[in-house]
């Protein structure tokens, strides 16, 4: 007998996880499948983490609407799901007189889109607000509703809350094809067997084009990976308190300087088309490009303080904007196509996709209702997901109490980020278990500090092995084929 669901969501990025959380509110069975060993391993894991104010997207586009609807949803969401979120505001910084008109364009665009709280700042005002900025700054656009989040924390919190409310999550499960009855989708084939369903929701990020093609939808739609490289800095050496964008160019929002919620300055991303959808390699040229770009905003950056580098892949699509009279070919696709039945189709969800994710989830629910789906609210739906203790953020007194309750919180495993054995064990046994090193890293920030795991790695591998009751040889960095260890050393005397 085929396992059957009302909804199957393909892809455990921030969009799929938000949709799962939104659907968990209703009386329906929901399955989320993710091809990787953990959720949040695609675009949602490597981006700038900004909740955009909304002056960037082209007025009239779906991107603009999702951004504007999504942005104000974050306060309530962060409260309900207990993830950190800060509405810090952001700046678009003009350097040199020639960049000033660019600010006016953005201001205009923002007004049309309906962005509240924007203001033009003079050179003197900008210099007073950010001491590290290029002295050649000529002015800035200030948007008070810009925010920053931790995209892992967001995605994981949303997916966990979905699981608490009955959604099933299957990791290491890859969509392969649809099972059709005529033009109706009745199920999917995966590497782990077939599943029946009434609806499939395509939130597969970079692969959403291939998936819709399998259903015969939009054969002309293609996604090209557009790479963005980043550097992360040691927080002990440099603090930039503000989110600083350059004036955007044709290539996008440009190389910015910002700070993560953990206090590390990050710079990036550039914007270069890549060949392959899995190619997350940094390049010499790309790193040089972001270095020069960021130096233009903040000249005091020092290479010595770099502690990490990574790449994010934007799912750059060619979806046409549906608003009449607007010629724009890179809009979001969020639709229920009529050619097949039982398919919610998403595509090209690049920036501001993180910002938009709760609005996209709501949009999907609305589309389903419009399509006649009777979504009945569950009485027992619990919108609240509580955060687990984070030793690093606690006062001395709180730490004392926590360790009294569970001594494992007294053993610090990651020296730079102060992550304890207790936190690691709790994540391994969480509603969506973190069973790889990188999964633990995303959840606890272990290994993200200045030593980049040099100290904690052997210790964490041992804890994972012990908690899961497996040999350390089976522990992986990020799933199948990424085992840390190959074999035991020669046993003396054996």
């Amino acid at each position: 007998m085929l396992e059957k669901y009302d909804f199957i969501i393909i892809g455990g990025g921030v969009v799929g996880s938000m949709i799962a959380r939104w659907l968990s509110r209703y009386e329906a069975s929901v399955l989320l499948i993710e091809k990787e060993a953990d959720i949040c391993m695609g675009a949602s894991s490597a981006n700038t983490a900004i909740v955009h104010a909304g002056y960037d997207p082209l007025p009239g586009s779906l991107k603009a609407r999702m951004n504007i609807v999504g942005n104000p949803m974050w306060d309530q969401l962060s409260g309900e799901l207990s993830f950190p979120f800060e509405r810090r505001g952001d700046y678009v910084v003009a350097v040199g007189e020639e960049e000033l008109p660019g600010l006016d364009t953005l201001m205009e665009q923002g007004k049309v889109n309906g962005v509240p709280g924007m203001k033009m700042l003079s050179k003197a005002e900008v210099l007073a607000r950010e001491k590290n900025i290029n002295p050649d700054v000529s002015g800035a656009l200030w948007a008070s509703t810009g925010g920053i989040c931790d995209p892992f924390a967001v995605t994981i919190a949303a997916a966990e809350n979905a699981v608490m409310n009955g959604v099933k999550v299957l990791l290491n499960t890859s969509f392969e094809d649809f099972i059709m009855e005529g033009t109706r989708i009745v199920g999917i084939k995966t590497n782990r067997g077939d599943f029946g369903c009434r609806w499939v929701i395509n939130s597969a990020g970079m692969y959403s084009d291939e998936i819709m093609h399998k259903a015969g939808i939009r054969p002309e739609f293609v996604i090209k990976p557009r790479r963005g490289e980043y550097f992360v800095f040691d927080r002990a050496d440099l603090t930039i308190d503000n989110v600083l964008f350059p004036v955007p160019s044709l290539k996008g929002k440009g190389i910015l300087v910002t700070t993560t919620l953990h206090g590390n300055t990050i710079i990036g991303p550039n914007s270069v088309f890549g060949e392959e959808k899995e190619d997350r390699s940094t390049t010499h040229e790309g790193l040089e490009e972001i270095w020069q770009g960021a130096k233009n905003l903040v000249p005091c950056l020092n290479q010595k303080h770099i502690i990490a580098m990574f790449v994010g892949l934007r799912p750059y699509g060619n979806g046409p904007c549906k608003s009449p009279g607007i010629d724009y070919q890179h809009d979001y696709i969020i639709e229920i196509p009529t050619e097949v039945q039982g398919f919610v189709n998403l595509g090209g969800i690049e920036s501001p996709g993180l910002t938009s994710s709760p609005a996209i989830a709501q949009e999907v629910v609305d589309l389903l209702k419009d399509a006649g789906e009777k979504l009945k609210e569950k009485k027992e739906w619990d919108p609240v997901r509580r955060a687990r203790p984070r030793f690093r953020d606690m006062s001395h007194k709180e730490r004392k109490l926590l360790i009294e309750k569970d001594p494992r919180y007294g053993r610090v495993i990651c020296r730079c980020e102060n992550v304890t054995e207790g936190e690691i064990a709790a994540e391994i046994h969480a509603p969506i278990p973190a069973t790889t090193y990188d999964a633990l890293k995303r959840r606890t920030w272990l290994g993200t500090g200045r030593c980049q795991g040099g100290f904690d790695m052997p210790r964490v591998v041992k804890i994972i092995a012990d908690e899961l009751g497996v040999s350390p040889l089976e522990v992986t960095k990020k799933g199948q084929g990424s085992n840390f260890l190959l074999r035991p050393t020669k046993q003396v005397g054996a």
Binding site: R280, S281, I403, G410, R450, K477, Q480, L485
Partner: protein, 425 residues
Amino acid sequence: MVLKNIYDVVVIGSGPGGLAAAVAAKKEGAEDVLVIERDMELGGILIQCIHNGFGVEIFKEDLPGPSYAQRFIKEVFSLGVEILLDTMVLDITPQRKIYASNKRLGFVEIEARSIVLAMGCRERSRPQIRIPGTRPVGVYTAGTAQRWVNVEGYMPGNRVVILGSGDIGMIMARRLTFEGAKVERVLEVMPYLTGLTRNYVQCLLDFDIQLQLRHTVKRVLGNNCVEAVEAVQVDEKWNPVPGSEEIIPCDTLLLSVGLIPENELSRKAGVKLDPITSGPYVDDNFQTNVPGIFAAGNVVHVYDLVDWVTEAGFQAGKCAAKYAIVTHRKESNYVPLIAGDNVRYIVPQKLDKRNLEENEIRLQMRVTQPIEQPVWIEVHDKENLVARKAERYVRPGEMVTVVLKQKNYKDVEKAENLTINIAPR
């Protein structure tokens, strides 16, 4: 173990620097000496350095790391140094309060009359030298790999490229070869060897491992695990020489590209760091700019021979003990003043007995409740009345003063503390 609230000397880190400091501090006469170590065992980096080459200067012997450490571990135990293992020090204040955490005792606060920082160093990692490419499993610092092989008993891979001709890299090249791995290459960006020549001979030449100077890793390949690295020759300015690229298939890349003194705690304590060494500025006693905070070993600058680390530890430990003893002596001259019946507070809160030998000491206080009748203000050492003064009344709004005179010295000298009570006559 029951932790004391205050120690003469607290040593942070139990590598050769820390162990030597603890030994020297005890020998110098410090009574309570505590070593705090985050690992499960004493010995620091020496635990995983199972190769020999340690102690040639001090012991005139060629010992493996653990044996070298063992000599000091024995001494530390026989001298009665207290030890906290599996305990991470999280914070130090300039006033020498130490915050640490472990499973058994929880989150603890310890005061120290002096501190020796001996946290060693950490290894420079891949992003710090900006090697582009993918982020697969299999790129490790040499020290991490060393821990895996020598302490945990596992091999990270079978085909290895090592970047950097530092000592740890070369020693790991030999170690991995012993374990049956093939070390494909050791690459060094400099035109010369950065480690000791003896290691080049014993670890590379003797095992036919190829060293390529003026070469570096241009990028890492492989999505899940390392599949190869692209090596390239560089010119004087470290720019890649076009056409010299070579793909070397391998499953592991080890980095032996430098060590950085581990000074996050030092910074929290207000210790100033030298931008060149990345370690604290120290004087010839190994004292930092913060009085009572000393530092020794790799935390100060990176040593190549352990013997010099031990020597530095001795000196730092000895001076830390001296500092602690002087501080202790000062403390024992202090007599706390305790607010007794109807006294809200007294200023000063404690007095230095020796001052009373030559000077009067004025004590000022406020009362808790008004007493509208004649009172005695009495200074007691337990039952013994040291001094008293009469007042017609006391009121919270009016400060009360009592003066201790030189003639009171004899009584105060014996006192552990003094209590002031105010009561009707």
